[in-house]
Symmetry: C2
Subunit: 355 residues, 2 copies
């Protein structure tokens, strides 16, 4: 997989124009959803000549529209507006736009150039590196996609003032995960702060450190054969919480689910790999304070376990696979855990979060 | 792009079982169309344990069904039947099945393993190497796709007895193109024969030589930045003939269009690059004898030229781009040719083919 240019800057217009100048495409397209079309695009058009002159493609907002129908509409617009295999697509938005826009670009005429400009913290920290593109198929998340790196990703905090505290905290949970995978210094740096109180340049600096942790892991194992699985920390339990909330028709933000999932998986790490108890307690207190708690009882355990069984990370339908930690920065991938241990971990999670 | 294993054999069952044994997938799927389901699949199920035990996915036959709707049905079947990212898809059929099946596999859960077993000569010689996967979007051919190599391609002549002479000749035209790109020896070897008279093992040998010519070119330039464009020889004019025939509601086989296109482009090669007149005449005589002629008049020139302008190989809408030859094996890519010269070449083509 080709490598990508990763730019951390709050001079977003200049950065886009410089990169478009290098790529020098015959035509430029900008993909936005109806939200970024209103709140971000006009600012970006004022800051960047390339964006101002580009053809704008607008799609519906929200994960339920990250689907084949929307992708087909993007392909059709590209074709109708004369895009060639040398054209460039700039994806401006959250994870939905960067995942789907990247997939559309990666498959249009067997792949055209694209740049991602994430406008949410979650998008910046989670979707800006890794080359995972994709769309949902029915209720199956990211069922269809390819691995393809953007030509460039421009990471900034410039548009974060349009985000709610909840959206900021959601992104911050992925930064906490990266810190847990890295070292105690990274962990201490994050857990001392509340994301909504950080100045834009301070947050950009923390964000850069966090994205580079992910980048190092992804560069080592781009197609998730081995160590990239460490990025699944918190996500086996987290996805189950997220899906259960969705089934109850009271969805929770992805990062909140990850925060709760990290608590459960650090409990498992403590049970199975002697992850230090004091760090677990410190982390769980932070989650309880910042993210509150996800309300679940013993009656939900069978459904949560069934949801974990269907996770596409499992090698076989019989196993439930986790990434766990021996300590901060000391990762053990491919841990198959028995149901009874998972239930115990749920009990302790509820206890720690005061559920 | 990863490299692929290319196996030339008429012991197809053994070859499939050996490769499936190496890949060792938890589940195996076989994609066929309604034709290969009847004429090829039962034979293959008798020859290969892996195929006999696989879940069969059947799709409609014909290029008009190489579309998003069919691809979505394949994705859904894979999901419903429990395919994981470690599953294997075996595509058994002509170019439609291998192009679409490869695209479906390359995008299902961001890419699963797949094997191509081409059952037509055209599929074997044209689609078995190169990693071009794709489907049509509306009337736009191969508008959506990715570059992705099969894990293995098993090339045989075992199923060619189900093909008509027309289908055999259609595939042979692509072999003629490869010979023109390679050397005089390859050219002489092919032009002395009629494909329908060849014994299976003789044809397999010629086919192997032909596919390896293409493989060498593709390995040098997998994403068609430069020398891979040489494989477009005959196809700029050829696609225009093919599209015109389709517009007239009397379609011609792809390889026939390529044969006529090769004549026109060797005429241009003679006009612009002094390609030897005797080789041009020898080739045109062979085409006239084997492929007959495509009936077109001066009144068709403007439409043919318009069709060539829309070719996705062009860098800009203003130019018409050809791959031409100075001599057999001496290629010149990116030749932009003026309309008047193209018209002259059409005049000479009609003369050579007795139209």
């Amino acid at each position: 997989m080709k490598s990508q240019e990763l730019v951390f800057t709050n001079n977003v217009g200049e950065a886009i124009d410089a990169i478009v100048g290098e790529i020098n495409p015959p035509t430029v397209f900008v993909l936005v959803d109806v939200n970024t079309a209103s709140f971000v695009l006009p600012r970006l058009q004022a800051l960047s000549g390339a964006v101002a002159n580009a053809t704008v493609i607008t799609t519906k907002a929200g994960d339920m529209h990250k689907n084949l129908e929307s992708t087909k509409a993007i392909w059709k617009r590209l074709g109708e507006e004369g895009a060639t295999r040398h054209s460039l697509l700039i994806n401006v938005g959250g994870g939905v736009i960067t995942d789907m826009g990247a997939f559309a670009a990666a498959t249009f005429k067997r792949g055209i150039s694209f740049i991602n400009v994430p406008t949410s913290l979650l998008g910046a920290v989670d979707a800006s590196v890794g080359g995972k593109t994709g769309i949902n198929l029915g209720s199956l998340k990211n069922e269809i996609g390819v691995f393809r790196q953007a030509d460039s990703v421009i990471v900034s905090t410039l548009f974060f003032n349009t985000l709610s505290s909840e959206e900021l905290r959601s992104g911050y949970a992925e930064m906490l995960k990266h810190a847990l995978l890295q070292d105690k210094e990274s962990f201490d740096r994050l857990i001392g702060n509340h994301v909504e109180d950080l100045a834009p340049d301070t947050l950009l600096d923390l964000l850069q450190k966090s994205v580079l942790i992910k980048k190092n892991i992804v560069d080592t194992d781009p197609e998730e054969k081995s160590i990239r699985k460490s990025l699944n920390l918190g996500h086996t339990a987290g996805h189950a919480f997220e899906s259960l909330a969705l089934e109850r028709k009271s969805p929770i933000p992805h990062g909140y689910a990850v925060a709760y999932g990290l608590v459960t998986e650090l409990v498992l790490s403590h049970m199975k790999l002697s992850f230090p108890s004091d760090v677990l307690h410190r982390f769980a207190s932070y989650v309880k304070e910042v993210y509150g708690a996800f309300d679940f009882t013993c009656d939900d355990y069978p459904r949560l376990i069934a949801l974990m069984r269907h996770d596409k990370k499992n090698l076989s339908a019989a196993d439930i696979n986790f990434t766990l930690l021996r300590n901060i920065g000391d990762v053990q991938i491919d841990c198959v855990i028995a149901e009874d241990d998972i239930k115990t971990a749920f009990d302790i999670t509820r206890d720690l979060l005061g559920i």
